[in-house]
């Protein structure tokens, strides 16, 4: 009995250690955890869509590193931290994590991912402004930016022939019957602050600086516009853009703010009826969309070979050819590499995305600061909900918002 047991143990040990030795010849298996869009659910269609996107990159990457395999696991954004904690406890965490910049920052802060060894990276292949989005206070870089998902306007071409270019036109179209949907989520409604001249005031409050009376009035004016808009019969505020996109697809809304990340899905569902345009500007200037940045963070449990391969992939992702291909194949992302010229003349969608990006760049310092705020999305959204549903007035909402912004960076 004991001899048999000893033989089994020996064989198992040899098998396991053999696996480790063989590891040098076997393909490197990279485990990639990927966050799905907010409000999407993990279903077969989403899975196919996301795996196809990753496959686009991996197919190109294999041309230079043929000995690599990638296994993708999709997670809901809200569950990612908890799931990584669980996996990391057994050293079974992913080698790469694809998520948005705020979450990547949070993951590194909590020790769930590793710092990006940015010294070995060509930093000029990524827009300098984007590095600020993935930088912690202590200077550590949390992830490699992959692509930009600009915030734009999506509409039903059958109903909206000429999309509004200004907020005034948006209100007029709403009054004439176009069903408009806006998200009440702070970061998704922030674009209106640029159009209405409140973005600088928000940045000032976020930097814990004293607001001038002009700053305060600009914020009150912005919040006042939001409240008046919500009073219009055909302008409705919803919890987030995910809901807006679903309602646009269902034909219950005609014009919504949306994220370019959803364009692949919406295009499949709406076909030629889907129209896109930059978000409307306002009396104070262009819109200030908080464009989302998809980033690639390094997991904390990789073996040396897996880590080398993961770093290679993170470097490869900013390769101009890859970046250009990603934009052209999807018509939904913008490259993070400033050297890549986006062919805006060949695609109206790409032109729209670029316009949104340029609008955002005008407000980038303010947006980058707000992007680092730890809780403004939650607290700011609560203030806005009270406002648009008439439970508070613009003046008191402004005070609440300033309180929420203070000390959060």
């Amino acid at each position: 009995m004991r001899a048999r047991l000893a033989a089994s143990v020996l064989l198992s040990t040899l098998a396991l250690s053999g696996c480790s030795r063989l590891g040098n010849e076997l393909p490197v298996m990279l485990y990639l955890a990927m966050v799905i869009d907010q409000d999407s659910k993990i279903d077969t269609a989403t899975q196919t869509d996301f795996r196809q996107r990753i496959q686009l990159i991996i197919n190109d990457f294999r041309k230079i590193k043929p000995n690599v395999e990638v296994q993708v696991a999709l997670y809901k954004r809200a569950n990612l931290n908890q799931e990584l904690q669980r996996r990391n406890a057994s050293d079974l965490g992913p080698d790469l994590v694809v998520t948005d910049a705020p979450q990547a920052n949070q993951l590194l802060s909590e020790g769930l991912t590793d710092e990006l060894p940015v010294k070995s990276f060509n930093r000029y292949e990524t827009d300098q402004g984007l590095w600020e989005r993935v930088k912690l206070d202590d200077g550590r870089i949390t992830a490699q930016p992959m692509v930009i998902y600009p915030q734009i306007a999506c509409f039903n071409r059958e109903i909206v022939q000429n999309p509004p270019t200004t907020l005034q036109e948006l209100l007029q179209q709403g009054a004439s019957g176009t069903r408009v949907g806006l998200a009440v989520n702070f970061s998704e409604l922030l674009w209106t602050a640029g159009s209405l001249g409140a973005i600088q005031s928000l940045a000032t409050a976020n930097d814990d600086q004293t607001l001038t009376p002009e700053n305060t009035e600009a914020m009150v004016a912005w919040l006042g516009w939001l409240q008046r808009a919500s009073a219009q019969q055909n302008i409705t505020f919803f919890q987030d853009q995910g809901q807006l996109e679903n309602l646009l697809n269902d034909g219950e809304l005609d014009w919504v703010s949306c994220n370019s990340n959803s364009l692949l899905r919406l295009r499949k569902q709406m076909g030629e009826n889907l129209g896109v345009s930059p978000l409307p500007s306002g009396p104070a200037g262009t819109a200030s969309p908080m464009n989302a940045v998809r980033v690639l963070a390094l997991g904390a449990n990789s073996s040396p070979r897996q880590r080398d391969m993961a770093v290679s992939l993170a470097k490869f992702i900013t390769n101009p050819m890859v970046q250009r291909n990603l934009s052209l194949r999807s018509l939904a992302f913008l490259p993070v590499n400033p050297a890549v010229a986006v062919p805006v003349r060949s695609s109206r969608t790409l032109a729209t995305l670029m316009q949104s990006r340029e609008d955002s760049m005008l407000h980038e310092p303010a947006l980058a600061g707000l992007a680092h705020h730890r809780s403004i999305d939650r607290d700011g959204s609560q203030v806005l909900v009270q406002l648009v549903f008439g439970a508070s007035n613009p003046r008191s909402s402004q005070e609440s918002l300033v309180k929420a912004l203070e000390g959060g960076s």
Partner: protein
């Protein structure tokens, strides 16, 4: 399907990590070490319940000690927790034994609790290196035009299994409540239990079918397939199934009924989908008889309208005794046996003039058909005692053989046989 296989194969890639290999080796080493130290002998003094907890807690302790300086032992801790859970099921089993019969506990444990525990352990283990929610939406193929995912398949299998295994106790509970409400017999309660189970299983399986994408077109296709199948392979299965349901509603073959099978009384224990399980008292055998047999062949029941059985004993008494007296003694003797019913009253009959005795028949009624053999024995003993007391002889067959005169063995020799005399 290939995607799912690829995902599963891909998990082997974790063996590239030395920390993972170290954890697996530690788990292996601990389990082997546990077997080598022969715990039964060394922990003999401990209470059995505590003995079950020693090993898992030791594993958890070792994992904790390794984690203190910063080691990763999530897998080891998990193995310890699973071991602890498995052993706690043993303790639960012992507790349940105080409430439920052993056979029920055994079924509950082996068919429901332990399989469910293993499924949970498996899913939780997968969540340590992958996302089960993501794996669940992998497309396996198409079924009647609908996408069949891992989730759909697993849920369908799990729900079907739970319906088949886990509905027994709830159905028994509902049947018990109905029995209390409508005051029906025990066999009717058992029939009700079965009917409730079949209805729940039927509804459940239909719901599972719709969940995995069955629609009217698919049902037509299945019906077409069944009609061909019924003609060939599954005719008998279907026939037995329908017979079982028919018998259940008819009430002739229900759990608790007593039927005669090959001359032996048998109690119906279970009316299954395919066959009926009967228990034969004579040799404690359990007979599995296809439902169709009861549906098509003649069957004798002692419990169709009531549970009484009339039994008979034949006995002979010598010609020298007055039959009136013998008949009276027989009837009184039957009444003296406790398990013989007074009403209907036992009746003795003079049935035949035999070669060596007058034959009498004693007929009496009993309330439990399965006890017939035992009661026959008691009545026979009582008759023997009564006959002895009253001086009544039970004759055995007697035969008188009359031997006639035996003829002489040799006859007188004839003159022709004598040799001629010689003249001298």
């Amino acid at each position: 399907m290939s995607q799912l296989l690829w995902e599963i194969l891909g998990w082997l890639g974790y063996l590239q990590r030395s920390a993972v290999v170290a954890q697996l080796l530690l788990i292996l080493g601990l389990s082997v070490g546990w077997h080598l130290i022969n715990p039964q002998r060394r922990l003999g003094n401990l209470h059995p319940a505590l003995r079950l907890l020693v090993a898992p807690i030791a594993v958890l302790l070792i994992a904790w000690l390794i984690e203190l300086p910063g080691g990763k032992t999530g897998l080891v801790s998990y193995a310890g927790l699973c071991w602890l859970g498995w052993n706690l099921l043993n303790l639960l089993n012992q507790l349940l034994l105080l409430l439920l019969p052993t056979s029920t506990i055994h079924q509950l444990e082996s068919r429901l609790l332990r399989p469910l525990f293993l499924v949970l352990v498996g899913l939780n283990l997968i969540s340590k290196f992958d996302n089960p929610a993501d794996l669940g939406v992998i497309k396996l193929g198409s079924l009647f035009g609908e996408i069949l995912t891992v989730n759909n398949l697993v849920i369908a299998m799990l729900v079907t299994y739970l319906l088949l295994v886990g509905t027994k106790l709830p159905a028994a509970g509902v049947a018990w409540m109905l029995q209390k409400l409508i005051s029906c017999s025990d066999s009717s309660r058992k029939a009700l239990e079965l009917i409730i189970r079949y209805v729940v299983i039927g509804i459940g399986i239909t719901a599972v079918g719709f969940h995995i994408g069955l629609n009217s077109t698919a049902l037509v296709a299945i019906a077409g397939g069944l009609s061909v199948g019924l003609g060939f392979g599954i005719k008998e299965v279907f026939s037995n199934f329908i017979s079982g349901i028919w018998l259940l509603f008819e009430g002739s073959v229900r759990p608790g009924e007593i039927l005669m099978v090959d001359g032996d009384p048998c109690e119906v224990r279970k009316l299954g989908l395919r066959a009926t399980l009967l228990w034969r008292d004579r040799d404690n055998a359990e007979l599995l008889i296809p439902n169709q047999m009861f549906f098509t062949a003649q069957a004798t029941s002692y419990t169709a309208t009531d549970r009484m059985r009339r039994s008979e004993i034949r006995v002979g008494a010598a010609y020298s005794h007055d039959p009136q007296i013998v008949l009276k003694i027989l009837e009184q003797t039957a009444l003296s046996v406790p398990r013989v019913l007074n009403h209907p009253a036992p009746r003795a009959l003079q049935v035949h003039y035999g070669d060596s005795a007058i034959e009498y028949s004693l007929r009496y009624w009993i309330s439990d058909p399965m006890s017939n053999i035992g009661i026959v024995s008691e009545v026979n003993q009582a008759i023997w005692t009564a006959f002895k007391r009253e001086g009544i002889e039970i004759p055995f067959p007697q035969q008188v053989n009359t031997v006639r005169e035996i003829p002489p063995l040799k006859s007188e020799p004839s003159a022709a046989d004598n040799p001629p005399l010689s003249l001298h």
